[in-house]
Assembly symmetry: none
């Protein structure tokens, strides 16, 4: 038969297994050298090129994030809805004074616990020179998002800025406070999360 080569790479189960294992072990953005090694190794199980490996990690990482984001956002939303219904009236003026505020915010999308390095498949694909120093490379590339750290909060104490509730108290130094109109937002990164249209 004519080769009729398919236009795109089709990973064999073995290749897929290995790639996934590598991913699980922490590899996210292999550099050229690593890609080279991985490709060479995987070529034993079937046709493959460097770009396939490169793309695979790109896609896998991206779709992982995507999945996580979707999940989190759904979760947040439900939580938020329930919370709003329950908490509507209560808990409104509880903290007029000092309440040790911490940095709130769950903003980060990814901070999921990354599986710790198993025996370390990654060592096999690190830049030449073996493990040692180079292994930091892999670690550093594992997850871009970082776990929040404690920040200095001293500046905030003794400030009155955040005492403003949204409630209609007499605004100390503010203007009429008209409700700004909604703007049609289209964020670059929250696309499928667009399920929210809760008014108030």
């Amino acid at each position: 038969m004519s080769p009729a080569a398919s236009s795109r790479w089709c990973p064999t189960p073995e290749q897929l297994m290995i790639l996934e294992e590598m991913y699980r072990s922490g590899i996210r953005t292999p550099n050229a050298s690593q890609i080279q090694k991985i490709t060479t190794h995987l070529s034993f199980y079937g046709k493959i090129e460097g770009k396939n490996v490169f793309y695979w990690f790109q896609n896998h990482k991206a779709r992982d994030r995507q999945k996580l984001r979707r999940k989190l956002s759904r979760q947040l939303q439900l939580q938020q809805q329930q919370q709003q219904q329950q908490q509507q009236l209560y808990y409104y003026q509880l903290n007029q004074q000092n309440h040790q505020f911490q940095g709130y915010l769950d903003y980060s999308t990814g901070s999921s616990t990354l599986p710790q390095f198993p025996y370390d498949i990654s060592n096999s694909f690190l830049p030449q020179g073996g493990g040692g120093v180079a292994s930091t490379q892999v670690m550093n590339y594992t997850w871009k998002e970082d776990i929040p750290q404690r920040m200095e909060m001293e500046k905030m104490y003794g400030h009155d800025w955040m005492m403003m509730e949204t409630g209609p108290s007499s605004p100390p130094c503010a203007r009429p406070l008209q409700t700004l109109e909604l703007f049609p937002i289209t964020a670059t990164n929250l696309k499928e999360e667009g399920t929210t249209s809760k008014q108030f």
Copy 2:
């Protein structure tokens, strides 16, 4: 259970979007008045207090710095150890492609698909009367107009980039069916080596 569902603010996707947009637009340390306005506005999308806004900006800013610092040190470290490794093979070649593109596009008129805020959101939350220090925070680039046009560039097939064939061609999706052992990755030893990284 007490009605207090959660002890901390949980931003809705809309709120998050808007906050991030503001941050992107240059707002870093809103003053009380700005916080007030922002809070009022965001309360339309869910429960929120002034302190949430304040903390959000604090945290976001701090984490930006943190990320920067981390990246810097990481980079220094890597620079030292990979002085002689050229490892940007893939990206390098990829970017050559992009160059071709962007030179071609000339960036004549911004992006298209993602309508940003119809107007500069940051203006709405600047100090009253305008001017002042804060105004320097705001980027002065306005959102580009749009051009939904799609470039019909000749597909640059023939990417010689990333070519890394490693063997004689074989059928696209055929698997060799050799029962080669998967090298040591099989999670037989899932111990925490611990010594793998964490260099700094």
